[in-house]
Amino acid sequence: MIREELKRGIFTENPIFILVLGLCPSLATSTSLQNALGMGMAATFVLTCSNVIISMIKKVIPDKVRIPCYIVVIATFVTIVQLVLKAYLPDLDKALGIFVPLIVVNCIILARAEAFASKNNISRSFLDGIGIGLGFTASLSILSIIRETLGANKLWGLNFLPGFQPMTIFILAPGGFFTIALVMGIINYMRQKKETGK
């Protein structure tokens, strides 16, 4: 079960390339590998926690007000994470601090709460959170490696190739769209080929 859930989150239901969710924070944070990993980890943590809590309270929440309740749960979690990071882990806060507020508006988390955690038990929701979170982190890393090397001639904040003139557009939002479209196109092409091959 664990393997299936993780595989589903990373490959068959990859949040960025297959579900096409959370493109706004993806554009913003896939500009460098460091940012991508930071955002990925922070989002994975909040996603897993909010999935578990929403799965726990799903029976008490009436259908009509479920969305406001989910939003309140997610926002509470994000705020608590932010405060704790600021107080006890200032170095991590410096690295992740800018991504934490972005998580509230990350639609992946709300989408998983609505589509998965509100219908499944706690352990499956927990695994779903980790799987989707890892998928998000992996996709962001792929995007950021392409964008950082092409757009800034850097990788992990260090210089990449001597003498290479970077194309700044890849760091900017349009380049983000180009990269997402390119990777998504390759993935869809491979999927189609596999399906027709069978």
């Binding site: 913003a28 944070t29 896939s30 500009t31 460098s32 940012n35 955002m39 008490v60 929440i61 009436p62 009509k64 007000v65 406001p68 309740c69 309140v72 749960v73 926002a75 509470t76 705020t79 608590i80 405060l83 704790v84 600021k86 107080a87 006890y88 200032p90 601090g97 800018i98 991504f99 507020p101 972005l102 850097k154 990788l155 992990w156 904040g157 260090l158 210089n159 990449f160 001597p162 700044t168 760091i171 900017l172």
Partner: protein
Amino acid sequence: MCGRHYTERLKRMFDIIKLTVVLVVVSVVAGLAIGITNKQTITKIELQNKLAEELALKIVFPEGVTIERCEPSGDLPGPYWVGKKENATIGYAIKGIGRGYSSDINFIAGMEPDGRILGLTILSQTETPGLGTRVQEVLSKKYFWNGLFSKKEADFPWFCKQFKGIDVTRDIKIDKTSEWHLKSSEQKKALLDENGISAITGSTISTRAVSSGIKKYAYLYLNAIKQQKNETTQSTGAAEATDTLNQQVTQ
């Protein structure tokens, strides 16, 4: 008929009350949770901020300067710091805010009494990652294959570095041709001569936020400090005058 209608209305009312109660309970629990964490963490957060502030003050003043904290007077928004070397005031450090693209950019700037910036450091900001956040970007000279596992070089963000020597009493030009760290030393000097800084590519708003924030707060503080000084010199002058008068009287 009438009875059924009545029970239906009652049921609907009960539904509405149930929804309201659930929402209220969820919000109250969430509010309590945030309130408790806030209370538990607030002293610790203040301590961390203070530590960061002390570190920042060491950066914005040159070495070997003793730093004194001054409480705000009049309509100043916060404390400022005086840097002294052998009892001579060499500059002031002020804390300010620039309204950036998506956040407040908090900074501490050290400046000479006439308005020349000694140093600038950014305390906190939540600008767009990869764009506005580069106000704090530290550049590396290493290539990734030899630097990935080695220690980070201690360096200072280039964006803040370029503010050294800028005169805040004049207009600060924003140059968009190329980023500061890509310029040659002659270009850097020319830029400084015309009181300019180079913008971060793709985030002119964050760049402008810092430069106009510094101008605004420097104006506020330097004026207030000057005024205070004038008042004290006037009052000491008056005291001296009365002293001489008294002496004359006793003579």
